[in-house]
């Protein structure tokens, strides 16, 4: 039997040899893998002391940023063979390939005479042994985290083709126990990775539902400061706050105005406001202070969100019975329903890429976070399902969604902010102190 095989194989080989003088093997590679890219981020080199400490810190934050995206798998330092001592020498690529590092980030930190840090880094492809990118940045030492985030963004962008989102901040609602059982809800801000948290508003009034301007350090939020839930503007750079409609035409009654979302160019807001008990969608021009009514239905039209081209608005409405999502022109007019499933659809938010709308769905006692195509075609895709979901917020590059996740406890629900990627993977909790909700993602910091 074995003999037969051998002789057969020899025969075939002969045949092949004869016939294949000019043959070219054509292979269609139709599938691969999408595992996180193994990347090595050794400590950035620097003189002993501040430089080398920060060098280690920066490498740690870069690696953590990349890992948090779910697209990269930083390799444990223990595995490293080569010790990087000078980033201007070519690494010994073999040493990095042997530990399966596809990419290598090397960097250095120098303390300059004025006390600022000079940070340089290079990203190498270990297979082609090419430098893919490199940057030098300077910063006051306290700002080293932003340096690290900027570097992580550069690595991310070079290797994925997408803009990074690490050098961004998140405004959210921080919750703490209050007097007589009503929790205190205050706006807070932190870096995208949870570092540097601080409060933006006082304990004296409840603040909810922040939204970030896509073009500046400005947010809108909702507060009960004046009794009603009312929309406010908050300039984070000057600290100036004002009620949205203070200086503009007042709404007919002393009604509610809710979460105000920015037009992609930042000069216009879409907001749901109430007149005589009924909520409709309005457009508010921040420059002219003009308010224009866009919907006029006897049902509650709430939660408007602009498409990234500014041409359309998605909102949720009870006009069809239970709450569903509708899309209309940014100037109003007829609205097209885009969700048809059972349950309650709320919190639509248009993706920065434009093709998808994230939503919360409530059905049979469960909540889910999902996305649906903006034109309503195709099936909705559920990214997360659990006890409670609210307030999705897209990363600036449209790859990740932050959301409020509620976990059931006997003494009440515990709220935290979680992130999930567009494929429904890489579910992670954002490190916040205490309970947190209502995330709003800043644009990339300039």
């Amino acid at each position: 039997m074995r003999l037969l095989r051998l002789s057969l194989s020899a025969l075939l080989a002969c045949l092949a040899f004869v016939s294949a003088a000019q043959a070219q093997l054509v292979v269609d590679v139709t599938e691969g893998h999408l595992e996180p890219l193994p990347i090595a981020v050794p400590d950035f080199v620097g003189e002993p002391g501040l430089a080398s400490e920060r060098g280690a810190d920066i490498a740690r934050v870069v690696a953590a940023d990349l890992a948090s995206s779910g697209l990269f798998a930083p390799i444990d330092d223990e595995a490293f063979i080569e010790r990087i001592e000078d980033i201007n020498l070519r690494p010994r690529f073999g040493d990095w390939r042997v530990i399966n590092a596809d990419a290598l980030v090397v960097g250095s930190v120098e303390v300059m005479d004025d006390g600022r840090l000079l940070v340089a880094f290079r990203l190498w492809d270990t297979a082609s042994e090419q430098q893919l990118t490199g940057l030098r940045l300077t910063s006051v030492p306290e700002n080293w985290r932003r340096v690290a985030h900027k570097l992580a963004d550069a690595v991310y962008e070079r290797l994925t083709g997408e803009k990074g989102y690490f050098d961004t901040r998140i405004v959210y609602v921080a919750e703490s126990p209050g007097d007589n059982g009503i929790p205190v809800r205050r706006l807070a801000i932190m870096d995208q990775d949870g570092a540097n948290p601080s409060f933006l508003t006082s304990r004296n009034y409840m603040a909810l539902l922040p939204n970030y301007s896509p073009v500046s350090q400005e947010i809108t939020y909702v507060s009960f400061r004046d009794g009603h839930a009312t929309s406010f503007l908050y300039d984070l750079e000057s600290g100036r706050q004002e009620a949205l409609f203070d200086s503009g035409p007042s709404l007919a009654s002393e009604g509610q105005s809710l979460s105000a979302r920015y037009h992609p160019q930042g000069h216009v807001l879409a907001v749901s406001a109430e007149r005589q008990g009924n909520h409709d969608i309005f457009r508010f021009d921040l420059r002219t202070r003009q308010l224009r009514q866009l919907t006029n239905s006897p049902a509650n039209d709430v939660e408007p969100s602009y498409s990234p081209d500014g041409e359309r608005l998605v909102f949720s409405s009870t006009r069809g019975g239970s709450s569903q999502l509708y899309v209309m022109s940014a100037d109003g007019g007829e609205a097209q329903r885009i969700t048809f499933g059972e349950g309650r659809y709320t919190t639509p938010v248009w993706s920065p890429r434009g093709d998808l709308i994230a939503f919360t769905k409530q059905h049979q006692g469960m909540f889910s976070l999902g996305v649906v195509r903006a034109d309503g075609s195709g099936d909705e895709r559920i990214l997360y399902e659990g006890f409670f979901v609210d307030t999705p917020a897209w990363s600036p590059n449209g790859r990740v969604i932050l959301f409020t996740r509620g976990e059931r406890r006997s003494d009440g629900t515990r709220y935290e902010i979680w992130s999930v990627d567009l494929a429904g993977f890489n579910l992670r909790r954002l490190p916040t102190q205490g309970q947190a909700s209502d995330p709003a993602w800043s644009p990339l910091i300039e």
Binding site: N180, G181, I182, R185, M206, L208, L209, V222, F224, G227, H228, A229, E254, G255, Q256, L258, S259, S272, E274, G277, H279, N300, V302, E303, S316, S322, S323, R344, T346, T347, T360, Q362, Q364, G365, F388, V389, D390, T391, G406, R408, R409, S410, D411, G412, T413, S437, D438
Partner: protein, 171 residues
């Protein structure tokens, strides 16, 4: 969805008592006493006629709603009728109706829903002859729960419109 949409006053009283925290300033509320004729009449040791306590005890200061509903139940109408006659008896008083929701809904949705609840209570009071100018409404959505436990009973308690006398009550 098997949510109980109507709870008897006695059950409510019990469940309120059972609640871990009773944050609302108006708590604790004794179980409303069934009274066929809500005509306020000074009683030997009852609340002072025309007082906030009188309103809470003898008219009932809150009505409850079904899950995701803002229409009035028969029982809610009863309560609101008592509120209306009390308010008609003390025309100098002013009220604020606060709509509330359970926590099983998204925030903005609930702010709008709470508003509908308060509005439907307001509309009914007006239909019973209460002057609209005496009534303000507000929605707290799910932000001011009466009860914070994770139970359907607790959620039912939180789906309400609470009428608060803001002005003109006897003390």
């Amino acid at each position: 969805m098997k949510y109980v949409s109507v709870l008897s006053a006695a059950v409510l009283g019990l469940s309120l008592a059972a609640c871990a925290s009773k944050p609302a300033p108006v708590e604790p509320t004794p179980a409303p006493v069934e009274r066929p004729a809500p005509q306020p009449r000074p009683e030997p040791q009852g609340p002072v006629a025309g007082s906030v306590q009188d309103f809470e005890v003898n008219a009932g200061d809150r009505v409850f709603y079904g899950y995701d509903r803002y229409d009035l139940t028969g029982e809610a109408r009863e309560t609101l009728r008592r509120q209306a006659s009390w308010l008609n008896a003390y025309p100098q008083t002013r009220i604020l109706i606060a709509g509330n929701c359970d926590e099983r809904g998204t925030r903005e949705y609930n702010l709008a829903l709470g508003n509908r609840r308060a509005q439907s209570a307001r509309d009914f009071l007006i239909s019973q002859g209460v002057d609209p100018s005496r009534i303000s409404v507000v929605s707290y959505g799910k932000e001011r729960p009466t009860c914070t436990e994770n139970s359907e009973r607790c959620h039912a308690v939180n789906r309400n419109a609470i009428t608060v006398i803001t002005d003109g009550a006897a003390s």
